[in-house]
Amino acid sequence: MKFWEIGKRNLKEIYRNPVLLGFLLGMPVAFMLVFCAAAGGGEASPIAMSIVDEDRSQNSSVFIQYIGSVDAIELNEPVYSQESQAQEDLDEGKISFYLLIPSGFQAAQQTQQTINLELVYKAADPMIGLQVKPIIEAVGSEFLGMAPPLNVELKGTESIIKNPAVNFYAPGIAVYGLMILISTAAGIIAGDREKGFLARMFTTPARPSDFILGYSLPFIPVLIVSTLIYLGVGMALGLTVVGNLGHAFLIFFLIGLCSIGIGMIVGSLVKSESQTGISWLFIVPMAMLSGAWFTVDRMPSVLKSVAGFLPFIHAIDASRAVINGSSFSAIVFDIYWLIGWAVALFAAGIMLFRRTMVS
């Protein structure tokens, strides 16, 4: 049980290091608080919308009233009759965007021609356009009595999921938090290697397997505790677990193993002073491509392919799916993908770590 002594030592080095723990647990929790609060932790505020009505017809007035009746939108007063006034207010920052109802709106509606509505916003604030466009499309289609271009069917999950934003962000941030294990594992291994602690340990009669187990097993309780904390904070913020929590836990466990494997690789290859930078060189792009913060659907196909190849997006998609009620059969492919990555990364990590024992 020599590995157990080495493992115990490494576990103590982790849990007695407040900076490391703060980073590992504190940062994802802070992210969760900020993102979930910002994206609707409580009641979402309606979006203030200004309107330019160039048509000034009966139909355009009714359409404006119809928009005003939507909960998510609060109409600014007064309704502009000329676009130049609205443009001026937009430039001066008095309004953040406006919807232009062009002249000919009523005529186009009556003759069933295409109606073009313009949503004008500052180029520096593109999120407004992205947020409001689908609302206008939906409201417009409904008002005009046309079939909407996309039928989004939620099947009553709204009544079970208390806060969709939390159910979106919490699994993503949990996976992101487990990515930080890359830096944690790499830091311990590279530090011990560089400072000579590993060399000192290699003068003792411990076998290579003792070192491999002693430098990988301690991260597993850290991974389990981290996952429990992330899920606990998520639930405190309103995460609704519709599906099987055990399946979600399995996904988090597998992605945590992948992170530990990457950490062993980085820790075995780089110097301790550069390990933090190199670890984050892995973590940040992989987090960006993981779908933790935003969907990768609108990314170029090359990036989407890279994202799909990496394990993290599978962990996030699958954990979101099972938390939102999907069955295990729906995530089987993701589970296999994660197992494959975990085995490959761990094998590479062990191989490279073993190499550090031979000079």
Partner: protein, 306 residues
Amino acid sequence: MNAVQTFKLTKEFDSLVAVNGIDLEINKGELFSLLGPNGAGKTTTIRMLCCLLKPTSGIASILGHDVIREPFAVKKLIGVSPQDTILSERLNCWENLALIGKIHGLSSDTVERRSKELLETMGLMERAKDQVRNFSGGMKRRLSIAMALISDPQVLFLDEPTLGLDPQARRTIWEYIAGLKGKKTILLTTHYMEEADFLSDRIGIIDEGRVVALGTSQELKTSIFEMRCMVVSTENITAEVMADLQSKYSRLEITKGRLKIYHKELDFKRIVDYLHSRGVTVYSAALEQPTLEDVFIQITGKKLRE
């Protein structure tokens, strides 16, 4: 059987020959020092003997066990205190000692008993429950030596055990090491000549990967210095006296009232009497002992700390 034996032990790093065919025979219970400047090959030699580095060529064995073929057997017999005080910084003294002790297969009771003995001997008992990251350099060094001793090893490697310590802390460590003499076989590396002089049964002077001199401190000094030196603080010494001395002794030097007389055999009383008889005032006179630094300079042509 020797405790440590090497034959033409060599280590090359690319084009650099760090250790160049070293032959050593260290007896059981002997304290042997490898003395040499930084980069001479001392640590590389120890790393090969501790199975951390594979020799490029040559043979090394610890108590008859080959370091290449039987590393596991060698590691059971040795204790190592590396040059840098490498400890587990967030563990306390007990935990650091238990870590090494248990890897050596000691029972919990044995680890506790030996830890207590060592912590008391090393004067660390009061701070034994503190995380070692807050310790001074001297305390860390003492704990590092205790960690090397926890398994009660037959052969102890101490790589620069007092490097970077103040004179008081260094003296304390010397006393601990001196207390181990005869009980353990100790191979110590140092670039402090006083350390090697004070502690060693025998010294190997190492330079550029080769052992250039080997013997007891006294043997090294006398073998290298065939001439002895007498230093006399004088006044009003005349040219006539100088010429007379010149004719009798091998070499004379005089600077700022200090007369140095070099010759194979020097009769202290006869010289002082002669100077008095010639009316020369003598304030003090002493026979100067050569140091290991002198030996090193004589052999290598450079200073030890260069």
